[in-house]
């Protein structure tokens, strides 16, 4: 089959298909995990795993990504299932936001991407800031009413929680695959919308000379560069396992702006808005994105001034 001639529409389709071919395996992985969680994890497993005190539970949830690594596309179906298994909402949100950053694959990719540009400092800053942000968000969510956060059918799922921890092995596998199938199609719909919009932005807007000029203008001043790169991360919707390579190549931008890019991107971007909407109410998604924007920006500025003196204390001038 001879592929059609390149065209502006072809650019969109080409970019769209490339993200789908890259992302769909992770989406499927997430939904398979979700299916097997549903079939094999007893309802009270989460109670046993997490500390009883809500504060400690949230603090632990922020680190779960280290043991259950999933990237941001895969995490959404997984937390939906964990919510059903009794994971408290605040912990679920903290895990959902932190797992795409606080996980071994991302640590390794960030270290190798920033080779020659303070890799250890960048990686530690990224993990630390992601942890602080997600835990703060978790505390805020724990004060909210569940029925104002979760979509009605997800809420209903939680209330009608039914454990499949009994039943034969075959029945459980059958059940797991059925759940995986349903979750895959469910999540893929939001994924498609997000990727489609991202592809249009990527091939028609970000590459325009005017947009590139604007990006160049931002790079000099951190007051503009930090929100600028966060906006870029939002539009580009990169995968958290590879965004460090893009961040490392953004010539002219300060390390703080790139750090904001690396922390904000995996928690909030165009495709994630739609994926989050499969679980959360629209008003909550909007507030979550806004809250993350403010929090990451503020913490980045704080870290910009706090980090160099701290590093000096540890081992002489480094930056």
């Amino acid at each position: 089959m001879i592929p059609p001639v390149p065209s502006p529409t072809g650019d969109i389709l080409f970019a769209f298909l490339s993200i789908v071919l890259e992302g769909a395996p992770y989406l499927l992985l997430g939904t398979l995990i979700s299916g097997f969680i549903d079939a094999y994890l007893p309802s009270n497993a989460m109670d046993r795993l997490l500390p009883r005190r809500p504060i400690f539970a949230i603090l632990v949830a922020g680190l779960l990504g280290g043991f259950f690594p999933v990237c941001e596309c895969a995490v959404v179906p997984v937390i939906r299932r964990l919510l059903k298994k009794g994971l408290p909402l605040s912990c679920a949100v903290t895990y959902m936001l932190s797992a795409p950053i606080i996980n071994p694959v991302v640590v390794l990719s960030t270290l190798s991407a920033f080779k020659g540009q303070n890799p250890v400092f960048m990686t530690c800053s990224r993990l630390l800031m992601a942890y602080i942000v997600t835990v703060i968000i978790g505390f805020i969510v724990s004060r909210l009413r569940v029925d104002r956060v979760l979509r009605d059918h997800v809420l209903a799922d939680g209330e009608t929680s039914h454990s499949h921890a009994h039943g034969s092995h075959d029945q459980r596998v059958t059940h797991a695959l059925r759940v995986a199938r349903a979750d895959f199609l469910d999540t893929a719909m939001y994924f498609v919308i997000g990727v489609l919009i991202t592809s249009v932005f990527n091939t028609r807007l970000v590459v325009l000379p005017q947009a590139q000029g604007a990006i160049g203008l931002l790079s000099g001043n951190d007051a503009l560069a930090i929100p600028g790169l966060m906006a870029l991360a939002f539009v580009l919707s990169l995968c958290s396992t590879t965004d460090a390579f893009i961040a490392a190549s953004l010539a002219g931008f300060s390390w703080v702006a790139r750090l904001a890019f690396l922390v904000f991107g995996p928690m909030a971007d165009l495709k994630l808005i739609f994926l989050y909407s499969s679980v959360f109410k629209k008003a909550f998604v909007a507030r979550l994105i806004l809250g993350l924007l403010l929090l990451v920006a503020l913490l980045s500025v704080a870290w910009k001034y706090a980090a160099p003196p701290l590093l000096n204390l540890i081992h002489g001038p480094a930056l």
Binding site: P3, P4, V5, P6, S7, P8, T9, D11, L13, F14, F16, L17, S18, L21, E22, A24, L28, D47, G86, P88, L89, K115, P119, R145, V146, R151, D152, H153, D157, G158, E159, T160, S161, H162, S163, H164, H166, G167, Q171, T174, R178, V179, R181, A182, L185, A188, M189, V192, T198, T203, V207, L208, P209, Q212, A244, I246, S249, L250, A251, G252
Partner: protein, 364 residues
């Protein structure tokens, strides 16, 4: 009644009136004759005439086969090379995912009709067995439209279209490459930095050399500086570049030259002693339009993250005339110089010949 906090919200811990109301309501619904399936959903013998054709099963099946089929086709036809890098197993993941989706579709088509009826019976028995402290509408809500539990046929049709149309359009009409206009825009985009990031890892000559050599850590720059006999050699460069061209030049990818400043000193030195040949598109230098840069797009993992990389080309004699965005092969030597505060590879070209666009539009 206090608003339920999230920690004690879920059914198994609940003691709120609020939650009990819900459970009662649900159990009424669920233990009805349809066993959790809404009206219009046929399975086994309980199908109503209106639902004689099992859309609820055929549509997901079709979608899974479509997604799986597209992924397997793009892998099997080799077209995937234009979309994903060869590093990190991205292409293999696509194949595995495609096959698994086909398996899920087959499972949906073949396995489900039989157990659907019998399973709900056995589940019902189990439910009686375990005291009824939970009810039994598990997951059937998923079959009721993906847009939400209230989804009617409009929502179902919309879901179906969103899942089917963009992917089909892309699979049928994707040109496997970007348009020239996209390339021109990218070529003039903010230049990438060449410090640090070594793409997917395959461009790292020192790393490749270290892997190819029996002695571990031999590519380490400090070992070479200390006068070790394990330093990078011309022979290794020849082998890693895939052998000399008929003219006796070392063919290197533009990306390998671009990242040369990040290589160890011994690699840099060996490369600078050889006549190198590389291919790319010619573009004007933004700061000095009389000067030429050689440009290519490089993807990190998929085509959507393609970013522009370019190196300056200087001519030993008067620069020949060249066409903007034309493909050229340059022959000459490389040197390393600081440009705008960053170490950069500069190509000192002795010859410029029009070249053919490579089969793969992008590098990785």
């Amino acid at each position: 009644m206090a608003p339920p906090s999230d920690h004690d919200h879920h059914g198994h811990r609940c003691s709120h009136d609020h939650d009990h109301d819900h459970e009662t309501a649900h159990s009424d619904h669920v233990h009805g004759p349809e066993c959790g399936h809404g009206p219009g959903h046929s399975h086994g013998a309980t199908g109503s005439p209106a639902a004689a054709f099992p859309w609820s099963r055929v549509a997901p099946c079709f979608l899974l086969l479509l997604w799986g089929g597209v992924m397997v086709y793009y892998f099997a036809s080799g077209r995937v090379i234009h979309y994903l890098t060869g590093f990190g197993g991205f292409r293999l993941q696509t194949l595995i995912c495609g096959l698994l989706l086909c398996v899920l579709a087959a499972f949906e088509l073949l396995v489900r009709p039989v157990p659907a009826g019998s399973e709900s019976e056995s589940d019902a028995e189990e439910c009686r067995g375990c005291g009824g402290d939970h009810d039994h509408s598990h997951d059937h809500s998923h079959d009721h439209g993906h847009g939400g539990s209230s989804g009617g046929w409009v929502a179902k049709a919309l879901t179906f279209l969103i899942l089917a149309v963009p992917l089909s359009a892309a699979a049928l009409y994707s040109p496997d490459r970007y348009s020239d206009q996209f390339f021109i825009n990218k070529a003039n985009a903010v230049t990438s930095s060449n410090t640090g990031a070594l793409g997917g890892g395959g461009v790292d000559l020192a790393k490749r050399a270290a892997k190819a050599r029996p002695l571990p850590g031999a590519a380490d720059g400090t070992a070479a500086a200390a006068g070790g006999s394990t330093a990078f050699t011309v022979d290794e460069l020849e082998r890693l570049s895939g052998g000399r061209t008929p003219e006796g030049n070392i063919p290197l990818q533009l990306v390998e030259l671009f990242y040369m400043p990040a290589q160890t000193r011994d690699v840099q030195e060996v490369v600078s002693t050889q006549v190198i040949e590389t291919t790319g598109q010619a573009i004007k230098d933004k700061q000095d339009p009389t000067k030429m840069r050689l440009f290519r797009l490089m993807m990190t993992c998929c085509a959507a993250d393609a970013r522009p990389i370019s190196i300056p080309v200087e001519f030993t004699e008067a620069p020949p005339s060249w066409r903007e965005m034309g493909w050229y092969k340059v022959t000459g030597t490389v040197e390393y110089r600081e440009i705008n505060g960053e170490q950069s590879t500069v190509f000192k070209a002795s010859a410029l010949t029009p070249g053919k666009p490579p089969r793969q539009q992008m590098m990785y």
